[in-house]
Amino acid sequence: MIEIENLTSAYGKKKVLRGVTLSGLRGECIGIVGPNGCGKSTLLSIMAGVRRPAAGSICYYGKNALENRKVFQKMTGYVPQENPLVPELSVYDNLRLWYPDQAQLKKELAEGFLQILGIPEFVKMPAARLSGGMKKRVSIGMALAGTPPVLILDEPSAALDLVCKEDIRRYLRIYLERKGTVVITTHEESELSLCDSLYVMKEGKLFPVDKALRGAALTETF
């Protein structure tokens, strides 16, 4: 369902991605680990259509996303490291930017994924007054607007407490049970338990990690 081939990218003369190839199925969680600055976020931002690669191809459900950018919009939900919130607006207004159909938004809040994320509890609060965990939940809620089949998360648990981390893992399990595909970068060992397949990024390339060697890979990486 996700087919990425030979992606390359560079910042100026510095090559960050050197032929990344990756594939994933429905209901699969793909984990990517690696040290800071190795290109994980760059890869995810390219997969989400935020950056353009220098070369390579990205297909979601057989559709070439680089040829038709609307594919990114329809097929992927992207949760960047920082939360894309307008601090002065309420959570509801922030969500409206991503759910233009108000009826749909209300339905999601009442019985959809936004309800599972627990957003209705603080939907009227200004985004500036939310805790880190609440902001991350709203960010995930935004990314899930339009129920995209692929969810891309860039270190979703960074700087969150243990309860929030557990909550996020719970939401992701539900998303995976509903046959969504998750691509996640992480430094958290506990999040690796979610992953069906794990890759380590080294020198701009992805290397698969055997299930038995996951702990060792994480330790070696850092």
Partner: protein, 400 residues
């Protein structure tokens, strides 16, 4: 398009929420501007003349008649209002001239008055500093004019004497001299007419009050951009990228923020107009279209600064400094005529020059087509730079 309209609507909602804090900031800025305008007004409109000229006088040889003549000149009202004479030695006089302590040095020869009476006419020497300030320049101008007058009068006196001698009518010389004096005083040296009829104004066609209030209004409007920082500062890169992903282009995002800035500026400007009207000084300032045009230009300028600076604090600092400097260059703080020639040449390239013309035209009731054209060009340039800066930041900003 639906998403874009929704973004603009939410941006406006954000502006409404921020309006009370922006207006409080605007009130503080207004207080600062009023204090600056009052101080500038006092400088330009004080009772005592703004010009005070010190003239160093050297008397070569003691002479009671020369002393008497100096006291007479110094006692004349038109002279004593702006000039003070200081009797010094020659060395002291040149030192004062070098160090800027005197606008001119006058060296009176010994027995000067006696020489005038006897016809010896010993010359008086007047020195001006090399880098003459405005006082010295004015004094030099007056002296040159005086020398020209004396030359003409001297030529007349010698001419009358030679003519009277040639025709053998030297006995009627005193009557002829008296006639020439009368004609000179009536037609050539009508000093009173010169003082009463010739009006010179550094503020051109405006009164000093209009000049100061136009500058004050413009300075306030430029600073108002600082008060509008909550709505004009760029959104976070991550939000802008997410919006871009949703199909809302950078241009549309920028327009939304600019529109909010315009609304914030309009609210601040409306508050200013209400205060002006309450103070009973709103006559001639009711040109809504012109106000809107000025606001349009200033908002675009402030928006560009916010986009270029990136952070709100840096933008506010740049906005304050650039506004003050450009207002000075445009002749808004000091009348243009008092500025150095090089600065006057720069003014043509400063957008505030044309904004000032637009604000001043609120008093005149009409604006020159050229001013509108130049301002529209500047706005187009500001908009292009803003868009370029926003695109650069969003596209080139690196991920963590």
């Amino acid at each position: 398009m639906k998403r874009t309209l929704l973004l603009w609507r939410l941006e406006l909602k954000r502006t409404v929420k921020q309006l009370p804090s922006m207006l409080c900031f605007a009130v503080a800025l207004l207080a600062v501007t009023v204090i600056c305008a009052y101080a500038a007004g006092r400088l330009l409109y004080q009772d005592s003349p703004a010009l005070e000229v010190t003239v160093a006088v050297v008397e070569e040889g003691e002479s009671p008649l020369t002393e008497l003549a100096i006291n007479y000149v110094q006692g004349m009202e038109s002279v004593s209002e702006i000039c003070s004479f200081l009797t010094v030695t020659k060395e002291e006089g040149f030192t004062m001239l070098r160090e800027g302590g005197a606008a001119a040095l006058v060296i009176l020869p010994g027995g000067m008055i006696e020489g005038i009476l006897s016809g010896a006419n010993q010359p008086v020497e007047i020195y001006f500093p090399d880098n003459a300030g405005i006082e010295s320049a004015l004094l030099k101008s007056f002296t040159d004019a005086g020398v020209q007058m004396l030359r003409v009068a001297q030529a007349q006196i010698y001419g009358i004497y030679d003519t009277a001698r040639a025709y053998g009518t030297l006995e009627g010389l005193s009557v002829l001299y008296a006639d020439v004096d009368r004609y000179n005083l009536a037609f050539a040296l009508d000093r009173l007419a010169l003082f009463k009829k010739q009006e010179v104004s550094a503020t051109e066609s405006l009164t000093v009050v209009q000049y100061a209030s136009a500058s004050g209004i413009l300075f306030f409007l430029l600073l108002l951009g600082m008060a509008c920082y909550p709505v004009m500062r760029p959104a976070s890169i991550v939000l802008q990228r997410q919006l871009l992903r949703q199909g809302i282009g950078i241009g549309a995002q920028c327009f939304g923020r600019w529109l909010c800035g315009l609304c914030g500026m309009a609210a601040g400007c409306g508050m200013l107009l209400l205060l002006i009207k309450a103070a009973g000084a709103g006559a001639g300032l009711g040109q809504i279209g012109l106000w809107f045009f000025v606001l349009f230009c200033i908002t675009t300028f402030a928006f560009m600064i916010f986009q270029l600076a990136g952070s709100a604090v840096a933008a506010m600092l740049i906005l304050f400094l650039s506004s003050a400097v450009m207002l000075y260059l445009a002749g808004g703080l000091l009348p243009w005529a008092f500025l150095p020639e090089k600065v006057q040449e720069l003014a043509a390239f400063v957008p505030v020059t044309y904004l000032l013309q637009a604000v001043r035209s609120l008093y005149a009731g009409r604006i020159q087509g050229r001013t509108i054209g130049v301002l529209i060009l500047f706005c187009a340039l500001f908009a292009a730079v803003s868009h370029g800066a926003a695109v650069f930041r969003v596209k080139k900003g690196t991920e963590a």
